[in-house]
Amino acid sequence: MQPWATLVGVITLLLAAPDVLAVKSHDFKTCSQAGFCRRGRALSARAAEAGGKWKSPYSIDSSSISISPNNAVFTASVKSSIYPEIHFGLELRVHEDGVVRVRMDEINGLRKRYDEAASWALIAEPKISQDISWTTGKKDIRAKYGNNEVVVAFEPLTVSLLRGGKPQVVLNGRGLLHMEHLRSKKIEETKTEEAAPQAEEGVEDQAVADQAVLKTEEVNPAAWFEGDTEDDWWEERFSSWTDSKPKGPESLSIDISFPSHGTIYGIPQHATKLALPTTAGDSPFFTDPYRLYNADVFEYLASSPMSLYGSIPILHAHSTDSTVGIFHAVGSETWIDVSHASEKSTETHWISESGILDLFLMPGPTPADVFAQYSTLTGTPVLPPHWSLGYHQCRWNYVSSDDVRTVQRRFDEEDMPVDVFWLDIEYADEHKYFMWDDKNFPDPVEMTNDVAANARKMVVIVDPHLKRTSNYPAYQEASDRKLLVMPASGEGEFEGWCWSGSSSWIDFFNPNAWDWWKSLFKTTQLKSGWSWTLSTTDIHIWNDMNEPSVFNGPEISMPRDNVHHGGWEHRDIHNINGMLFSNLTSRAVQERTDPPQRPFVLTRSFFAGSQRFGAMWTGDNLGTWEHMAVGISMVLSNGIAGMSFAGSDVGGFFGNPEPDMLVRWYQVGIFNPFFRAHAHIDTKRREPFLLEQPYKGIIKDILRLRYTMLPIWYTAFRETSVTGVPVLRPHYVMFPKDPKGFALDDQYFIGNSGLLVKPITSKGTIETTVYLPEDEVYYDYFSHHVYRGATKGKDITVKAELDQVPVFVRGGSIVPTRERPRRSSPLMKLDPFTLRVSLSKAGSARGDLYLDDGVTYSHEKGQFVWREFTAQTAKKTVRITTRDLGVEKKDAAVDGVALVSYNPSNVFAETIKEVRVEKIVVEGLSGKPSSVKAEGGEELIWEFAAGVAANGKGEGVASVLTIKDPRVLIVKEWAVIIQL
């Protein structure tokens, strides 16, 4: 056994985890097995040991400061006292929205450092603020804007962002900034071993020992800072692999402190709590730093700082009075240590393998502001095709086109809604994606048409590894065009193993790959080359294995010294690699038709900016309660980092969940933005129609519940696509001033709908505690039971039997639903709405509803319907009415488009002009109405069940007024008057 394997074994034993954990931890590096992380942590340890004596060697030469004509940008040269001959350049710019970008690079270094990470992540070059002026002092340069101030101290170099004079973010405050400059390998001198015996002799004599240290310092003036060994500088081994590291050491270390923030969120993806536990300092929760290195981790742990499939280097730091964010545009492997010097402060230490420092400081001060600032940088989540919010049925694998048809038939026989059937890798002949296994899928187009006949779609997998065989056009064309990733030699094609056996990978950093890749997805014959004529535009795409997963590679991925377009090493761009693949696939699917249609592309790997293109899921989870629970906090965490369209596989990818677990998992799934059931090839089939009663019936109801709520989801996605505020909103986002909610990650809100959900993720549960964060009424979604919160927050206990999922409507909400079950979501297009008016204590309520055709981009041309519904109580009258938000907020309706005009009778609105409100349910009225009328119309038909009033004191079932068919239309103005 390898020594490290033994070590891992020992550690595992020490942790004494009682369960047999299936993850192959030894396949993946710990910090101590990664040279640069080890060096980074050693640096941090030296600093901690030195205490107050520690001083960063980096400083600004104040004479070099140059301020741009528009004042918002300044540059300066930075020196390091340990390498006086090396030059660094610092640039600071303040954006229009107050975001500060801090960039530092090596100037005229031996080689160029990779500086393009931001160009892949950013949606556009951010606009520079027009009203910033820098004041250069003796010790620092500073600029005040609004309540914010940014201060750059010269010696040692620190960058601080302050608000109201209070530091919010401090860079290099702990002196851990270190950019290992690019250097040439020295010819090894044969060191005499004399120093060692000397030191040994002086063990009992401290003076002599000090002398020895002093002596070393004389030899290597950088040793106090960098250490005195060339620790894995020039070559690095891991397991049976050797990383040739032709550029030598080039890592980047930076400490980022939040002196006024005690809670941090973000840096997904990790299987852990939403509020990140510590990895450093006193008794840290995890012993390793959080790692960002996209990896295909087989049977990952449900609680671990280990890397997973995607990486987004964004962090929120939060306190009761402010939220700030930082985004580090770095594409190389990055480790992040988290500690708290006090309860109210947070220190982080970022260690990256290569690249430049390119940090964005987002000043907040509210979570919504940080979302807006991050969206301005990297874009908002895309408004997905409406059907993709329905239920997705997947399995590895539906084995034939007849199998797909049978599964569809069974759903229809049981009258269970489903929108999408998925095909995993086995559809492809020898795992040559696009190429149907014609024995089992002899009629792929007919099969897709049979699915589409019920207004459904198919999603088919296309992975980035191409089987190296000349009879595979995708590979052959890529090879001919030299679009494949190269091995360390920089010549030829890298060859690795994946599902398809010996494979090569497309290099999407090569712009020549882009149009070619798009052309493959065309459903018509092309002159230029091969295209997927055996497909239809009802097929959308699943991109898996794009970390990239390479079965025989180091850490199941590509060797870091592989070479990409432009000569960059794989290490420089590893975390960005997966995003480019799915981005390009997304474009390819979009451009199959003219005019383009909204694509659906699911990706496993992602990076900052991936939200602009599609959905992600939390990868190969296990069918355990722990994974079900952590799936929720992972989805929340991905959401705050931009990836709102996220979900975890219902049922768990591995294992055979018991029926009760499956029921609970569906309850989790319907409250994930992306709702897909998936299963490993070794598992038993578990499609919902296969279950026995009562489970089958419960799941049918759960599926139908999701479909009734599709208007809520789609409306929430519209908002997110414009504001960047995530679809799933954890408590700190909704109630930033309530510290009791900061750590909550098992209950959350859906958009601004007012729905609060707490899915159950433990076996045998019959009741649960739900936290109500405010002095407002909350209504049980199903029973209309009224619960009352409190100003300081309150825990309530609610029933949660197997067929119950705790869902509440916040008092003051109007929730639009479509209650008619259908086979698939497009078939609901003309169905009427039900409005549920949940009165607040003050007797008011509001909600909005957004609709468009769900598939094209016509909404960008103003073809949509966006209504607000409000209820107001004045004296003894409750007035429920509606406004056209399309008219009122046309410039804020659609992402990236400021409409000049909006026509309420637009083409889409005309298609639903007869869609009505079939029922209005008002809960929490203070008494039985004397009359209920449509304004200017007749008395309506209604019934009233007496109960608790919102403005009263008691708890219990609310009073419920049900107005039957008020005959009012969604696209029209109307009002309903309730006379008490």
Binding site: R823, E938, E943, D965
Partner: protein, 554 residues
């Protein structure tokens, strides 16, 4: 408690006929009540007649909206004039899709679907006629199966009868021989007594222990051989099927180790070699062949001439174990002129009862075979009187047992022929007992021998081994299906096949429907190592009239 407030008549709705979507059986319940108040069909609520089919759900049972989608879980009746009426779930009403089940389009808003009942009806009738034709032909074949079953029944009954007669005769014969044998043995009992006390005893005892040791060794040896074969199979599958996924060193080592042990080339190497072989015979392949030969030579060289070879063990051990030690001993005694001993020893005594008939059969065959070659004949003749008598007795006994067992089998078969859980109430499946159906998928040939075993064999020209996919275990096991119903015979379960190396034991669900041939049409591995075969059999083709009458009622 709940009151409806109805101020004024409703404005006219795009009014829907109150009886739209009502099935003929319920039509009478949907007529305007004099009171103007209508009761939900479940009696739970009274609503104004105007609320019926007003596209707004009022009754908990959904009965007020037979013609709209307003109530979930209710149904809509399509008249489908020119075709057959059908009931569809309310979720399909007004969803914009024209489903063939509701070919008159009555479930959709006017103008959405055209009335397609003519074509659909025609197509349906065409299909039905074709099905009927098949069914008719199939039913004829089926009736021949039934005739076969009746013939088989007669044959078996006759067999039972004749067996009973034979048993009576043979029982008498056994009784007669037993008397002779016992008499002979009592004569030689004294001699045996003497023998057991004498110096010959160690030889006898030793022979006996050798015999039982050999027997045990043979049993263990066989067990090990089987185990080795199974392990080899598992490792072969691992070697061919493993994915260098996750660089699992343990798997790689196991594969390499097996390749070394079995003298196989490394799997990747072999592939490369095959590629190279397209041009010329590669060195590696030649090397492989040599290695194999050397190994064989080694094995031969190691074997002592005196020792039995593996082949000898395989073929000779049974023979050796069937040696009649008593006879040998007697012969030996005669040779050394000691009083002839006798013994009660009989190998049969060492065998569990269940194996006795088999043993007897084997012994008989062996002896006759030995006799043919003149090996055992002299020995038998030379054996003592008591042994001869005993042999005659046991021969007679085994003949008797065979007849008894034949009779028993015949009786069991008789019981199964017309058993609903056996070959069907009419015995229509008896004819197919053991009949093998095959499907060639290219890579594999799938075979099911009905009521016996399903197998996966390598396809023509492909290497590999045959796996059992399971033995017949039952008809449709679904609790929703009762034995004897047609649906009961539409599924057969074959289970406990060869275990997958990392999965369950292989199994097959055979789904059958009426067809003129006994055939498998599709094979799908829906879950790992769990197969679904679909096919046809005339045994499922019920005579037309019975089914027809059911059809017309729809």
């Amino acid at each position: 408690m709940l009151l409806w407030f109805l101020a004024l008549p409703l404005p006219a709705l795009a009014s829907v006929d109150k009886t739209l979507g009502v099935s003929p059986a319920l039509l009478s319940k949907y007529s305007a009540p004099k009171s103007g108040s209508w009761k939900c069909l479940d009696g739970s609520k009274e609503i104004p007649w105007d609320f019926v089919n007003d596209d707004s759900c009022d009754c908990p049972d959904g009965s007020d909206e037979p013609g709209t989608s307003a109530c979930p879980n209710s149904t809509f009746y399509c008249q489908n004039a020119g075709h057959i009426g059908a009931t569809i779930p309310s979720s399909r009403v007004n969803d914009g899709l024209c489903e063939p089940e509701c070919c008159d389009g009555s479930d959709e808003r006017p103008g959405v679907c055209r009335n397609a009942c003519k074509e659909i009806g025609e197509e349906y009738r065409k299909k039905r006629d074709a099905e009927r034709k098949i069914q008719k032909t199939g039913a004829k074949i089926r009736s021949s199966y039934i005739a076969f079953a009746h013939k088989e029944k007669k044959r078996l009954e006759a067999l039972v009868e004749s067996s009973a007669a034979e048993i009576a005769v043979r029982e008498k014969e056994v009784a007669r021989l037993r008397v002779i044998a016992e008499r002979t043995e009592s004569l030689s009992a004294a001699a045996l007594e003497h023998k057991q006390q004498s110096r010959e005893r160690p030889l006898y005892t030793s022979l006996m222990s050798h015999a039982s040791a050999l027997k045990a060794l043979q049993r263990e040896h066989k067990k090990h051989l089987e185990r080795e074969q199974q392990l080899g199979d598992i490792l072969d599958t691992l070697r061919k099927g493993y994915n260098p996924n996750y660089q699992d060193m343990a798997v790689l080592e196991a594969v390499r180790g097996w390749e070394y042990l079995a003298g196989l080339p490394h799997i990747g190497v072999e592939e490369d070699a095959q590629k190279a072989a397209d041009l010329s015979v590669s060195d590696e392949e030649a090397g492989i062949a040599e290695t194999g030969d050397e190994k064989k030579d080694d094995e031969v060289a190691e074997t002592d001439e005196e020792e039995w070879t593996a082949e000898d063990l395989k073929t000779g051990l049974d023979e050796l174990l069937n040696t009649d030690y008593v006879s040998l001993l007697m012969a030996h005694d005669e040779h050394v002129k000691t009083p002839p001993p006798s013994t009660l020893f009989n190998l049969r005594g060492y065998l569990p009862d269940s194996l006795v008939p088999q043993y007897e059969e084997m012994r008989e065959t062996l002896l006759s075979w030995l006799g043919v070659f003149g090996i055992a004949g002299t020995d038998v003749e030379k054996s003592s009187d008591s042994s001869k008598a005993r042999t005659a007795l046991s021969d007679a006994e085994s003949a008797l047992n065979k007849v008894i067992s034949d009779k028993k089998n015949a009786e069991e078969d008789l019981g199964e022929i017309f058993d609903v859980q056996g070959f069907g109430a009419e015995g229509e499946w008896k004819k197919l007992d053991g009949q093998c159906l095959q499907l060639d998928s290219g890579d594999y040939i799938y075979e099911v021998c009905l009521f016996d075993e399903a197998r996966q064999k390598p396809g023509p020209g492909k290497g590999g081994q045959t796996f059992s996919l399971g033995k017949f275990s039952s008809w449709n096991p679904s609790p929703d299906v009762k034995p004897g119903e047609p649906a009961y015979y539409e599924k057969q379960v074959y289970d406990r096949g060869t275990r997958c190396w990392n999965g369950p034991e292989r199994s097959v669900i055979l789904v059958l429907k009426c067809g003129t041939e006994n055939a498998i049409h599709t094979v799908a591995e829906l879950e790992k190592c769990e197969y679904q075969f679909t096919g046809t059999s005339p045994a499922l083709c019920l005579p037309l009239d019975a089914k027809d009458s059911v059809r017309e009622e729809l």
